[in-house]
Symmetry: C2
Subunit: 231 residues, 2 copies
């Protein structure tokens, strides 16, 4: 029952989202985020890696949280101190990605039209997607197989993305998203486009260029009104 085969425990200090006063806290020049923080990230990474490996090899439903905890050599209780749900172990990069999405949206020129803002911001996440390529492929594969994973993706991940898009667009355009449906419609349409692109990409084993697929799907947005039957 020891961590054996893959899972090199690469220990890239992934963001830890639990207690507030973590990480650096010193100023400038690689602040070396305290031994405690490093250990914590290490545990978190070990858990996420163990989960990914077991999901990959056994399937999602077939893997219990006790399995994962044992493979990461921690207690089940500790697992649930790092991850709120079993599903969230598969989406450990979500917070980081959403932060990047928020920044990307904020950096767009103030007069850019909404659809372009979203398109360019999403496309600018290319290196994020590249960084988490394997994880994203696994997520897509599992979401296609396990309803609980698909549900989590829709109800948590995609909801998170939508919130950022709605916030950015409604502020940028000075409208109240409670009464003007357009920001949320654009957000929903965007997530649909990304979903289709991701499905295609995953279905082809990740061979196509992911960002191109996404960009092409997003380019369908402005012309929806002209979508007609091919006569």
């Amino acid at each position: 029952m020891a961590p054996a085969t893959p899972s090199p425990v690469s220990s890239a200090p992934t963001s830890v989202n639990t207690s507030p006063n973590d990480l650096d806290m010193s100023i400038d020049s690689r602040p070396q985020p305290s031994r405690r923080s490093r250990k914590k990230s290490k545990t978190r990474t070990a858990l996420a890696d163990a989960a990914a490996y077991l999901f990959e090899t056994q399937g999602f439903d077939e893997t219990t949280t006790v399995d994962i905890a044992e493979r990461a050599d921690v207690s089940q209780r500790t697992l649930f101190r790092h991850f709120a749900t079993k599903e969230s172990m598969l989406y450990g990069e979500m917070d980081e990605t959403i932060d990047e999405l928020r920044s990307a949206l904020a950096e767009r020129p103030p007069d850019e039209p909404p659809l372009a803002v979203v398109r360019e911001a999403v496309v600018s996440l290319a290196d994020n997607f590249e960084r988490h390529r394997d994880r994203r492929l696994l997520q897509a594969r599992l979401a296609a197989t396990y309803p609980s994973v698909s549900a989590f993706s829709r109800a948590t991940v995609q909801l998170g993305w939508e919130r950022e898009i709605i916030d950015a667009l409604s502020e940028r355009l000075g409208v109240d998203p409670m009464h003007d449906p357009r920001p949320e419609i654009i957000a929903g349409a965007t997530m649909s486009a990304i979903r289709v692109a991701t499905r295609q990409w995953s279905f082809n084993g990740g061979q196509d260029d992911y960002i191109t697929l996404i960009a092409d799907a997003l380019d369908a947005l402005p012309a929806l009104g002209a979508f007609e039957r091919a006569s």
Copy 2:
């Protein structure tokens, strides 16, 4: 512990989705769907009513499935023979509604443009919404409060609607929804519009005209490309 206060067990023979050869099976003129089927629907209705009452009065998370079963005077095991999940008890009309959506989509003229097809089909569900008005208000209220309800709505109910829209549009337009993202984008945008409208409606206690809110939100779809900052 007895079913006392409201819950009139109205026994409208709601569709029962379990075994195939149920309901009428005779032909024409009020076929009186067999005592067994009637009892089954009655149990199902009693369960849904008990659930709605308890969700309403105590909250969703605060109600256990044992509570619901006791109030409907059946065993917990029987509850789970009628409803796959606790959440689905709140959305008992879903299958019926999706059937109506499918019909409404199919009845649209073949040359109507996609956005109009969806808009008119959804608007034609007005009487369905009216029929299930109270339930819909409860759903909206609970979805705003309980993440598990919101998650179910997004991951199951809205997914079901989207599937119908995607199927209808892709067939109607002769495109492959795996490669042409437009049907899914329209479906996603549509569900976003309905979500916003429902939120507004629920927020105002159901005073506004629900269908008008939905129609207005859907009317924003064709002009998304022209959505600009008000200068």
